[in-house]
Amino acid sequence: MESRQSREHCAVRDRLLRSEPDSEIAAADRAHLDACPECAAFARRLELARELLRRPAASAAALEPDASFALRVIERLPKPAELLGWAALRALPAAVVLVLALLWIGVSQPPPPEYKDLLSEATSPDLVLTYAALAPEAGP
């Protein structure tokens, strides 16, 4: 019995929280609020909370800019040199990625065919022996 009541409290409060501000409360929920002082107190607090949320946090005077506000904004605008610095700084990660990509391509690419032949010839033992035999003897 108690848990059923508790479920009903929860359901009514959920509906109140999800309802549009200032919307009509359903008749069934209204009947529950009339019979349940706890939920009625919750509904009153929710209404007050929404009323406070609707009002500006700042006082009326703080909501009106003074005559020199636009000038203060213009004074804070970044100068062209600053903009260039910012642009360079923003381009830095892209530049680093580009350099790394070029390095990786350079290292991972196989050598072109003509260099490949030369390399394989140079490492052939027969060719090394032939060069050794043909080379003039060094002597005094």
Binding site: R13, A49, L52, L63, F69, L71, R76
Partner: protein
């Protein structure tokens, strides 16, 4: 009508605004600071009202308004003329306000103590104001838009550039915390 709703509907006829505004935007894009100052003057009041929804101290309202226009200057090239400039500026202002609220995470929110407005039960109002002060800035931000301004999830998502799922999750979390506070109070 709520402040933000007024801001979106606009107070001037759209055609008149568009003619002069497009010229000012084009000139600003070419680096004309006088044209940008005219844009600032045109929209400053609305931006102040919007920032004032979230911040109590006048210095903070001014700071958020200035930051909004600075971002507008820096990002003016990304503005697409298919939507009103005001909507774009509203998004920038909301994001500035949200960023600032997040920066001061952990600092207690100043209490709403406006006693000038008539209240049927001032004690109860003060009690609820104290409870609201316990909300995190992010929760308060979402609740101001949902319950204060009466925006739907879709409207918040569109105006802030968040996904609907993101707004739903934030709204659910904020309402859950509000509920806990109101039940404990």
């Amino acid at each position: 009508m709520h402040t933000l709703a007024r801001m979106f509907m606009g107070a001037e006829p759209i055609a008149d605004v568009a003619d002069s505004e497009a010229g000012l935007i084009r000139a600003s894009l070419n680096g004309d600071q006088d044209a940008f100052a005219a844009l600032v003057r045109k929209h400053q009041s609305r931006v102040f009202h919007l920032a004032g929804r979230f911040f109590r101290r006048p210095e903070e309202v001014e700071e958020v308004a200035q930051e909004t226009f600075l971002r507008a200057w820096m990002k003016l090239g990304t503005y697409r003329a298919d939507a009103p400039f005001e909507h774009w500026l509203t998004r920038l202002c909301l994001r500035c306000a949200y960023d600032r609220l997040r920066q001061r995470k952990g600092e207690p929110e100043a209490l709403e103590t406006d006693v000038e407005s008539p209240a049927p039960d001032p004690d109860a109002r003060m009690e609820v104001a104290k409870l609201l002060a316990h909300l995190s800035p992010a929760d308060r931000f979402v609740l101001v838009l949902l319950d204060g301004e009466g925006w739907s999830v879709a409207e918040i998502a569109e105006r802030l550039g968040w996904t609907r799922v993101n707004v739903k999750v934030r709204a659910h979390r904020a309402r859950k915390r509000l509920r806990r506070l109101l039940e404990e109070g």
